[in-house]
């Protein structure tokens, strides 16, 4: 369902003192849409948001809000249409959570700001919507960052705006509150029909909550669209100039690459048994080669994102001679081998052969398999395996072996 356009940017240039930081922005934000601005620090995300909130004048171009030029709004009318949540969470003075949220009623109250019954009701409703009813009687300055942020959201909501603009709403929050804030913002969009535009730092969270992501880099919006279309390893790596990590769209997460200085290991994995091992090895700086992995296996996605050398096979096909050959090519010298205890089925039977070959060549194999299972699979040679309890156990064995 396509909703009406609420905000329209026409060849917008934003910046300070006649210096545009980001220019040529021509985009639309629809009612109830969640738009996230992504990009490196200093890319101009905050400048864009401040301009959209009319805290800064545009350097060029025009912004239309609800069909009317943003600059033509009277301050009070704008306040009834647009609310902001800024990064500041320290305020001077003594007020309770309720008092704080009730300040959001400002554009709706009379000369002295006296709250009418409907204002009190709306303030309470806003507190409820952000799960902060219990903070109503507590003093703002005694609350944690996460609790304060919820009140900031409620205050914006109490303004009854059509759009809320947030500058880094999750910054300095713990995991619980980060997720809670995002859930609340989603609720604003879906249940209240409010458009939300926010700068975010977590690509993985942004990809999961946003309808639209805007990628800001080098003074331009280099991408604007659904995260499902836009976010992949190439765009995210380019956006942030990543070199020690990579985004994986299937995982929807960032994986940290190892620097490969701690030595080479070959991991025989599959069926998701390798993921924890890969991350641990990458973290400890091992250069990981892994195979033979099927293309749709989660091990494949994680290993790729971590920057491991991958020997891949097409999904749901038997491991080919050619793939086996490449795997053996990586198993030269005194490479250490890890067996993650992958399930052996028809199509990855060859991985078992790989292990047998290694044993035959006298290579050291660290395994997560149970002894009985290993004997069944590998026969008498199983005793040459180094049995480990878990991934940490393997790591210990590896390092002591070194």
């Amino acid at each position: 369902m396509r909703t009406a356009v609420l905000m329209k940017m026409q060849d917008l240039g934003v910046g300070y003192d006649h210096q545009a930081v980001v220019r040529h922005i021509s985009q639309e934000i629809r009612q109830g849409q969640f738009v996230s601005l992504l990009g490196p620090n200093g890319a101009g995300k905050t400048t864009i948001l401040r301009t959209l909130a009319r805290l800064l004048a545009p350097q060029q171009g025009t912004i239309f809000l609800d069909g009317k030029n943003l600059q033509d709004y009277r301050q009070a009318d704008l306040a009834r249409t647009l609310a902001v949540v800024l990064t500041e969470r320290n305020f001077f003075g003594m007020f309770t959570g309720f008092d704080f949220v009730a300040l959001g009623r400002y554009p709706h109250t009379g000369f002295l700001g006296r709250l009418q019954p409907k204002d009190i009701l709306k303030t309470q409703k806003a507190l409820h919507l952000v799960n902060a009813a219990d903070l109503a009687e507590r003093y703002f300055n005694e609350l944690s960052d996460g609790e304060r942020q919820k009140l900031l959201l409620a205050r914006a909501l109490a303004q009854e705006p059509k759009i809320i603009i947030l500058d880094e709403p999750t910054i300095h929050l713990d995991l619980k509150h980060r997720l809670e804030v995002m859930t609340i913002l989603r609720r604003f969009c879906r249940d209240q029909g409010i458009s939300v535009i926010a700068s975010l730092h977590d690509v993985d969270i942004a990809s999961k909550v946003s309808d639209i992501v805007a990628l800001v880099r080098d003074g331009r919006i280099i991408g604007w669209g659904p995260p499902e279309d836009l976010l992949n390893e190439a765009t995210v790596t380019h956006l942030y100039e990543l070199n020690a990590a990579a985004y994986n769209r299937w995982l929807g997460a960032i994986e940290m690459k190892g620097d490969g200085t701690a030595g080479k290991v070959f991991v025989v994995a599959g069926g998701g048994t390798g993921t924890t091992m890969y991350r641990l090895l990458a973290k400890q700086g091992f250069a990981v080669t892994t195979g033979v992995i099927h293309e749709n296996d989660i091990d494949c996605y994680v290993a790729k994102a971590l920057g491991a050398t991958l020997i891949m096979e097409k999904p749901l096909e038997f491991i080919s001679e050619e793939s086996m050959g490449r795997a053996q090519g990586h198993l030269n010298g005194n490479t250490l081998v890890i067996d993650t205890g992958f399930p052996v089925t028809g199509i990855n039977q060859s991985n078992l052969e790989l292990l047998k070959l290694c044993l035959a060549e006298g290579k050291r194999i660290f395994t997560l398999r149970e002894k009985a299972a290993a004997r069944k699979l590998l026969g008498a040679d199983y005793q040459k395996l180094v049995f480990c309890q878990d991934e940490i156990g393997i790591l210990r064995a590896l390092t002591s072996h070194h």
Binding site: Q75, V84, F91, F92, M94, Y106, T109, E142
Partner: protein, 340 residues
């Protein structure tokens, strides 16, 4: 510290207590003195009129002073509250920011220099005008310097430096002035609510009263301003007009009191805190009357102490107000984690 809120009923009682304190302080100030006036005598003088010596003392000395102290205290407290909200900083007030000393400097120019030639004696209204110009001048300089400064402590130091500079120029003026004028100026600079004529009082009452009522009508934007200029703007406050009004009113209040009573320390800084902490709110609609009443009561009591503690020698009122005001500043600096 886990604060609990006050009910409207609790706050009503607090306001009644503040009001009672003002009345009590006024009564004490009226009856206590080198010539004690008993309550029954007080009633008879006010009620039936009398031309006794005590009636003269009451009408010409005691009552003007009582009213001046109450009014001056209320005005200083509200001025300080406005400045604290304006800078969103708990350790400012007209005295700390050098606004009082700016007013003092200009008054010194009038009282000490030949500027007053051609006037018979020193016109009190010229003093008032000079004090206002001094207050606005200092405030303008502070605003120019602090345009890009967020740190509260920096602001405090700049205010102190403005105080020193104003003091330095004032002392140079004193050095070059005629003896007789210096004596007059030094007495004024000591700070005292005594010696005001009824005419001066009416000016103070009229202007001060108007300003205080004006402040109350700013309650709503004052509350929004607590969240900072950008939030206030986003909620619909006309920031430019509002900033102008706060500065206009805060300096006028401080300047008027300085002109009438000389520089009075710390009332403007300490009283808003006492009001905030006792009412447990920053809501201007409660804080303005709270600060006003507390300022009146406390200044009045300080004036009583200043008169009586080394009687018959009278000490400057700032000597008393500083004794309780300075520790409050230190205390706030030490535990300012939540406010700054």
């Amino acid at each position: 510290m886990n604060l609990t809120t006050l009910s409207p009923r609790d706050r009503l009682w607090l306001f009644i207590a503040f009001g009672a304190a003002v009345v009590a302080a006024m009564m004490l100030n009226t009856v206590i003195g080198s010539v004690p006036i008993s309550l029954s005598e007080l009633w008879s003088i006010i009620g039936h009129g009398s031309d006794s010596a005590n009636a003269d003392i009451l009408w010409k000395i005691r009552l003007p002073r009582v009213i001046a102290a109450v009014l001056g205290g209320a005005m200083l407290a509200v001025s300080g509250m406005l400045l604290q909200i304006f800078f969103r900083n708990p350790i400012v007030g007209p005295f700390v920011l050098g606004i009082s000393s700016g007013a003092t400097l200009l008054v010194a120019m009038v009282m000490l220099s030949t500027l007053s030639l051609g006037f018979t004696g020193v016109s009190p209204h010229l003093n008032t005008l000079a004090a206002l110009i001094g207050a606005y001048g200092t405030m303008t300089i502070i605003l120019l310097i602090t345009a890009n400064i967020k740190s509260g402590v920096t602001l405090l130091i700049i205010g102190l430096m403005m105080g020193y500079l104003n003091g330095a120029v004032t002392s140079i003026l004193v050095a070059f002035a005629e003896r007789e004028k210096v004596k007059q100026f030094v007495l004024w600079q000591f700070g005292s609510f005594s010696g005001l004529s009824w005419q001066e009082l009416f000016v103070l009452l009229g202007l001060g009263g108007l300003l205080l009522i004006g402040v109350y009508t700013l309650s709503k934007p004052l509350n929004a301003f607590l969240l900072g200029e950008e939030y206030a703007l986003s909620m619909g406050v006309n920031i430019k007009l509002f900033r102008f009004l706060i500065v206009l009113v805060a300096c006028a209040l401080a300047g008027l009191v300085t002109a009438a009573a000389g520089p009075v320390a710390f009332i403007g800084l300490a009283v808003p805190h006492m009001a905030r902490l006792s009412l447990k709110t920053s809501d201007a609609r409660l804080l303005i009357p709270g600060a006003l009443l507390l300022g009146a009561a406390i200044t009045s009591l300080c004036d009583l102490v200043a008169r009586q503690i080394f009687s018959p020698v009278e000490v400057p009122i700032s000597a008393i107000t500083a004794c309780f005001g300075a520790p409050i500043v230190i205390g706030l600096l030490l535990k300012r984690k939540t406010s700054l």
